[in-house]
Symmetry: C2
Subunit: 448 residues, 2 copies
Amino acid sequence: MALLIKNALLVTMDAARRVLRGDILVEGSRFCRVGTIGRNDMLGLSKLSVIDGTGLWALPGLVQAHVHLCQTLFRNQAEDLELLDWLRRRIWPLEAAHDEESMEASARLGIAELFLGGTTTVLDMGSVRHTAVLFEVARATGLRFVGGKALMDDPGTFPGLRELTAECLAESDALAAKWDGAEEGRLRYAYAPRFALSCTDRLLREVGERVAAGARLHTHASENRSECEMVRASRGATNIHYLKQAGLCTKRSVLAHCVWPAEGEAEVLADTGTAVAHCPSSNLKLGSGIAPIPDYLGRGIRVGLGADGAPCNNRLDAFEEMRLASLIPRPRFGASAISAERVFEMATVGGAEALGLEKEIGSIEEGKQADVTLVDPRGVHALPHAPEVYGTIVHSLRAADVRHVVVAGRPVVRDGDLVGLSQEALRRRAADQWEAVRSRAGLGRGPV
Amino acid sequence: MALLIKNALLVTMDAARRVLRGDILVEGSRFCRVGTIGRNDMLGLSKLSVIDGTGLWALPGLVQAHVHLCQTLFRNQAEDLELLDWLRRRIWPLEAAHDEESMEASARLGIAELFLGGTTTVLDMGSVRHTAVLFEVARATGLRFVGGKALMDDPGTFPGLRELTAECLAESDALAAKWDGAEEGRLRYAYAPRFALSCTDRLLREVGERVAAGARLHTHASENRSECEMVRASRGATNIHYLKQAGLCTKRSVLAHCVWPAEGEAEVLADTGTAVAHCPSSNLKLGSGIAPIPDYLGRGIRVGLGADGAPCNNRLDAFEEMRLASLIPRPRFGASAISAERVFEMATVGGAEALGLEKEIGSIEEGKQADVTLVDPRGVHALPHAPEVYGTIVHSLRAADVRHVVVAGRPVVRDGDLVGLSQEALRRRAADQWEAVRSRAGLGRGPV
């Protein structure tokens, strides 16, 4: 199977940041040629499918470095609460009420939105149960998915989700053995202790040993001031320092949020090569704060972007996160705090680096995995265009401008609609399964 | 001419905040019946046009209480600058280079975006010249438009825009005489001293006399800390107090921004009935700050929302401003700082009140002007819906979900496209006129 994308503006995000008019030839799951493609380049290719890119811009498939597909079904159902109340009163009871069917509906709804908005790769944190369902749905839909089971073993954490240390680790190991590298590397595993407060010290250290041996790590850190105070009081160290002691700050680690680094913790992130997943909408919505991203970038810390879960956003829209990543640091760091190009890097090559996938994705380059998002920049809301493409992409374009999306060479969105999936069927399934999980959780229908 | 909108969910924003499934009958420019409409209600109506609202939500046409249509053509061309540099280095030179043709292209491009995103009414500030063009375009396109010529007479202000006090007042008076109340009240005039620093004390006081006699007032205040310091140093009073001394804080006044109220100035706004136009994207993009809107609302101050100009946003999208108005106060005021219903009020009845048009627009009620925006809430990005509609509208819906828009009984958007206007023609015209105005301004094509 080969795919030709013809005559688009290619925003490559390669090392030279080339932006050129041209074509893209995909063979199997990889970019085979990028530039001007003639007939000779296509000799011997059978079954060539073509996307006409005329007038469109081809971007590297967007990377979201922190999402929770298990929560998509809870969108619009957990409003106006700060983090710990939001978890205890709504999210944890709802996660605990998931069964395989509701988990599947949640993941499918989220992936549909991600694809339609141009996101091709996510780093996902599951709930404690039904993690295999997430991998199965990622496998079936074509999403590039790095994910893992949430680990919650602290005796004080939410009873409906708490598991025994050895058992939840054993399940993680089994999931990692089965899924890490599956589908030719499109699926990967990341160990996911939920956050310091929900985990025992023993669990974190045992995960740390796995990370030292090469495993990926995905957790939350320093999202909310109350959380930071509770970690310090109960764990005897500030949050990121505490994670470092457990061996969780490494080149293979992604910490979501990092809104409130304590003294010396930005240095820890930089020195250990730990990546940050920045979630601007979520940090605002839960009243958490505004992460010091320009400071992190200045220290060379790797930063990706993420929408977090649907109930703290309430969208899974990489364009929205890019725009906010540009806007929200400015009152504190100044109007030139962060350039549009730097923001677009966070959503592409930066996100790829945060996930340790920079050799595979994040840019449109021959040999890399063929993840591409084609946007239509001609909407009246985007004109005139900026002198360089990044300003227009970050500040004016929107998810609804996405026309075609390809992951690993496979088209998942054509002409603005999902390939092979009925939105109407997704809607019905989501409505039924939301009602089912809400009912099992014993939560009412009324306002929160 | 009559129009029937059938079988929508009507989010009326009437005093009882009724949300009901039903129909809307429009005769001429006004809502004639709201609720269930039978055949008897339509007896004697000739030329009935029908919009099928099945599955859609009918919202009051959205109101933006602060925009600059004259700047739409400068979108994406004034990046990463704080207010005063942004004005001096980019916006003022470009405004000074406008001719009638570029002004018309700028207004048409902006109005197309406003309509496609569900905005039906704006309070606009023009540039110093070609104000009549803005009214002509509003008349022709069908936008509900309250606007006025920007007044800049201070000897120290930008030379290319500075005018003589008496002359610019005389021109304002002539424009007001011609346009205020035109098109059966769809067009209204607002006197628009640009901001304290660009105006002489005499000008502000003369405008104050007109406001005392019943005129509308639209200006900027306390947007940026440097601006506030310069006003205090040069005018001998803090910004809002200074405007009050000139007679500009009244029930007919709208002050855009009010990000940095000095001691006692929130009380001035409340005591005088002055309205605030909150522009969250713009306040972030120019690094200005985050306005204390929950505090203003708590004092009973009228607050509307606005996108401001395209070059400080870079969109003119009421859904984006609603979402940000909900999100950005939270790190400071808490996650329950402002409810979705309260935000939606700011974009509808609140905006109408800010503009003094609450008897005419802002809600779907019999007798009011028939301004309606029909959105499709069925996108996967919006599901499941919130228990009450406002959460979904503010946090999940987006401009691209707008399907039909009606202003004063006249459809301006049908099936997501402009009625009677070619987007391709708008695009070409905007590109040509941007190139022309840029060239006249002597600004390069490269990055800012």
